[in-house]
């Protein structure tokens, strides 16, 4: 009897607890203007200075406005700045090193205070705080004194303060900001549209330290004062974000009352949640694109658009056998990228033959045509490389991170080389961090890595990856002609000349094939029919249309 009663009371407790839980959390019936999306990741930080991941950007751009922004076509538009600084409007000095930016006077923070030049000064100096170690600070090292302050972790507080004061950013008056650069950087305005340069409230940081951008125990965000179209009211970590409309917003107020970002990491589960109307948008698991397109219910809900991302099989050109250009070219001709995109990916994505993706300045559709799929040419090049019919070829190893569709593409590459050139490829599928470490240390032989745009300009695509010794030049590619062109292009203030230089530079790289360009990503998501005015761009993160949620509305 006694046992039974314990059991019964246990059951009773469980049931009551559940009843309480249910009644406490019953969601209000879905009112009109609520959009529920899936961020699919837990963020490290949503402090604009410190953020570095796309999912962090997705949150930050809902709640902050910077000096400039990208429009739907990825062209720059002024936001808090009155106009885009140019030499013509005296925003940029003739030598390209001093920026004088006039701010709008009607921009307010979410608590009603005015946004002033000092908020930008504080943010841009804080970006280089050596104790914060902001990950995107290196993008802004052209600002006078930035790098010196950033590297001053071991200095005394007085020295740090002096270095901080020496940073070339100041408020001329409440609504005029001056930024001085060490060298001319024609793409600097693009950096003023990126999140690390967004304004930050000094009083919040001074009073609450790092907690200004963190939720309290209940998940509320009391100190996260922002100046964008939405306000983040809640961040329940590992669970969800809640945004509401910013009633103090200075621009056109958004139509949505509320946005919820969930954190469902499994793509199949997200699809199930979407079909159960718990999400208004979701991606489709890789490989299910065709059936989604064939599905009469789902096919009208498909949203697809090119993403500014290129994937490539990257060689370590510093070590044999891949220091042999002819071998690299032979392999490039042996891979049927069309079959991969058309059959394996069901037409989602586009074959890439060069590095800069379509939809961006610097894209050149004519590049790389000589390295399209051609088995005879591949065999010929292989013979020229010194390996007729693959004889004498050492074991080829290919390293790849075991994430997403990577195992599939590895298996595809392996079979392509086997069928077309009778080469046995050893695939080393690695855990993602282990792969990154190997890749960063340039200990890989042949890897697979993509590159997504931080900002839509060749500046972000070519010098970083192909200049001798550059930070992201992991292939070890080194070409004096390229270096000379790039050094010039980085400083060229005439945009037409600049883009021409980059075009020539890219042609040099493609001819050398330090990477076999494979494909450009295409984002393929489902969006409920009642979600209207979703505008997507090639730089959107995990959420399609995250840059312009301020325009979205619901209509059932």
């Amino acid at each position: 009897m006694r046992r039974k009663s314990i059991l019964l009371s246990l059951l009773a407790i469980v049931t009551t607890a559940s009843l309480i839980l249910t009644s406490a959390c019953t969601s209000t019936p879905k009112v009109e203007q609520i959009l529920t999306l899936n961020l699919a990741a837990e963020n490290n930080t949503i402090d604009p200075n410190r953020a570095s991941w796309v999912s962090e950007r997705s949150v930050i751009i809902q709640v902050f406005d910077g000096l400039l922004a990208f429009d739907e076509d990825l062209a720059l538009v002024p936001m808090v700045a009155k106009q885009i600084p140019t030499v013509a409007n005296n925003g940029i000095s003739a030598d390209g090193t001093t920026y004088t930016i006039e701010l709008r006077t009607d921009v307010t923070w979410s608590d009603g205070q005015k946004v002033t030049a000092n908020d930008f000064v504080f943010s841009l100096k804080r970006l280089f705080d050596p104790d914060l170690a902001c990950e995107y600070a290196s993008f802004y090292f052209n600002i006078v004194g930035g790098e010196a302050y950033y590297s001053a972790a071991d200095k005394t507080d007085a020295e740090k303060a002096a270095l901080k004061d020496a940073i070339g950013v100041r408020a001329v008056d409440n609504y005029t900001l001056e930024i001085r650069l060490t060298d001319a950087l024609p793409t600097f305005p693009q950096l003023l549209a990126l999140w690390p340069s967004y304004p930050i409230r000094q009083d919040m940081v001074d009073a609450h330290g790092e907690a200004w951008a963190q939720p309290d125990v209940n998940g509320a965000m009391p100190y996260y004062i922002t100046n964008g179209p939405f306000i983040l009211t809640e961040w329940v970590q590992q669970d969800h974000y809640t945004f509401i409309r910013n009633e103090h917003y200075w621009g056109t107020k958004p139509k949505l009352d509320k946005i919820i970002f969930k954190e469902i990491t499994d793509a199949n589960v997200a699809l199930a949640a979407y079909q159960n109307n718990e999400l208004d948008q979701c991606g489709v698991p890789g490989g299910t694109e065709q059936t989604t397109m064939d599905d009469p219910v789902l096919s009208p809900q498909i949203v697809r658009f090119a993403s500014l991302t290129t994937y490539a099989f990257q060689f370590n050109v510093t070590k044999p056998p891949f220091d042999n250009k002819l071998l690299r070219q032979a392999l490039a001709c042996a891979i049927d990228r069309d079959a991969y995109i058309t059959n394996v990916r069901h037409g989602v994505g586009a074959v890439a033959l060069s590095w800069i993706p379509p939809g961006m300045p610097g894209f050149d559709a004519t590049l790389g045509q000589e390295w399209t799929f051609d088995v005879d040419k591949a065999k010929e090049l292989l013979a020229q490389a010194g390996y007729p019919n693959g004889e004498g070829l050492p074991e080829l190893k290919f390293q790849i991170a075991n994430t997403g569709a990577n195992p599939t593409i590895a298996a595809f590459l392996q079979e392509q080389l086997k069928v077309n050139l009778d080469i046995d490829l050893t695939v080393e599928l690695m855990e993602s961090k282990a792969y990154s470490a190997l890749y960063n240390a340039r200990e890989f032989t042949w890897g697979f890595t993509g590159w997504g745009a931080d900002y839509p300009d060749p500046d972000n695509w070519l010098p970083q990856l192909y200049m001798t010794g550059a930070g992201n030049n992991k292939t070890g590619y080194s070409n004096p002609d390229f270096d000379a062109l790039a050094t010039q292009a980085l400083k060229e203030l005439d945009n037409t000349k600049r883009l021409k230089m980059w075009a020539d530079a890219q042609a040099l790289v493609v001819a050398d094939q330090p990477m076999i360009y494979v494909f450009n990503r295409e984002t393929f998501v489902l969006s409920k029919s009642w979600v209207k005015n979703l505008v997507t761009t090639g730089m959107d993160g995990n959420i399609a249309g995250d840059t312009f949620l301020r325009n979205v509305y619901i209509q059932k």
Binding site: G287, T288, N402, F412
Partner: protein, 294 residues
């Protein structure tokens, strides 16, 4: 203990008769025999896979991608146009190997350590058991992931990683068995006849404690296969193009909304294998335990 006093009345018989009895009892258990038959047939099919299917596990037919089951491809094709049935057969090799080799590693480590600990007793036993405590305090899956990352990509390293984590239970089991057997008459008899420690352990104690070990191994084989499936889900399973049931289930999992059979075939195969080992294990336990005779 009651168990000991009961067992003392059982006359010590030659080994083969213990095993012979067990086999007779096992044969009467249809579920266990069914399980055994399934495992053997599967193993044979895996070994002779090239004779059963015209396809290899790696060959891709890019014009026959994600086809539904047909006469040509009885279980359809996958994302790269590979024959699912062929992959399932070759995958059985991987999965059975994972199950068997991990248990082999487990036995190689756990059996001697448990035997030494149990027989030696005293301080040696104490030290070994404290080490076992430490191993026990690690969460299995985290330790496997760490080891897997340290040891690197090859399939043998999967065996090793799982084996290095799973030996603890066998060690404990063997130690317990040996300690309870040590006090029995036939051991004392061997001792009085001048048998040395090693001789007694290897000739008398280990063989007599093997029953529960075999049962435990039978149960742990499917667990290891399961662990491999979990590792595939986490993204650190076997490398391509080698198929394993875990990797296939993971592939199929991503296609569940569009091609459910891609998940169902390997999942059903794995479930049947699990059931087979479970029934065999239960049957062996009943058969090897003289107290359960009826």
């Amino acid at each position: 203990m009651a168990i000991v006093s009961k067992a003392q009345t059982v006359p010590v018989r030659p080994h083969h008769s213990l095993w012979g009895d067990a086999f007779i009892r096992l044969r009467r258990n249809y579920f266990a025999m069914g399980g055994l038959a399934f495992i053997l047939i599967l193993a044979l099919m895996a070994i002779f896979a090239p004779l059963i299917t015209p396809y290899t596990f790696a060959e891709q037919h890019l014009d026959q991608i994600l086809e539904s089951p047909s006469w040509q491809h009885p279980m359809g094709t996958d994302q790269l146009g590979r024959d699912t049935f062929a992959r399932l057969l070759y995958g059985a090799r991987t999965s059975l190997m994972v199950g068997i080799f991990t248990q082999f590693i487990v036995l190689c480590i756990g059996l001697p350590i448990g035997a030494i600990s149990g027989y030696a007793g005293g301080r040696t036993d104490n030290y070994i058991m404290r080490f076992v405590d430490v191993m026990y305090a690690f969460p299995d899956i985290l330790l496997i992931i760490l080891l897997r990352s340290v040891l690197g990509g090859s399939i043998y390293m999967i065996f090793l990683a799982i084996g290095l984590v799973a030996w603890v239970n066998i060690a404990r089991l063997v130690r317990g068995q040996i300690m309870s057997l040590k006090s029995r008459d036939f051991v004392s008899a061997a001792k009085t006849m001048g048998g040395t420690g090693n001789y007694i352990t290897w000739r008398h104690l280990l063989p007599n404690s093997l029953g529960p070990v075999i049962v435990s191994v039978t149960f742990n084989i499917p667990r290891a296969i399961f662990t491999e499936a979990a590792l595939s889900y986490i993204g650190i399973g076997v490398k391509p193009p080698t198929p394993s049931w875990g990797a296939m289930i993971q592939d199929g999992f991503n296609l569940i909304f569009s091609k459910p059979y891609m998940l169902l075939f390997p999942a059903i195969a794995l479930a049947l294998l699990m059931l087979a080992f479970t029934f065999l294990g239960d049957g062996l336990r009943d058969a090897l335990d003289p107290r359960l005779r009826h």
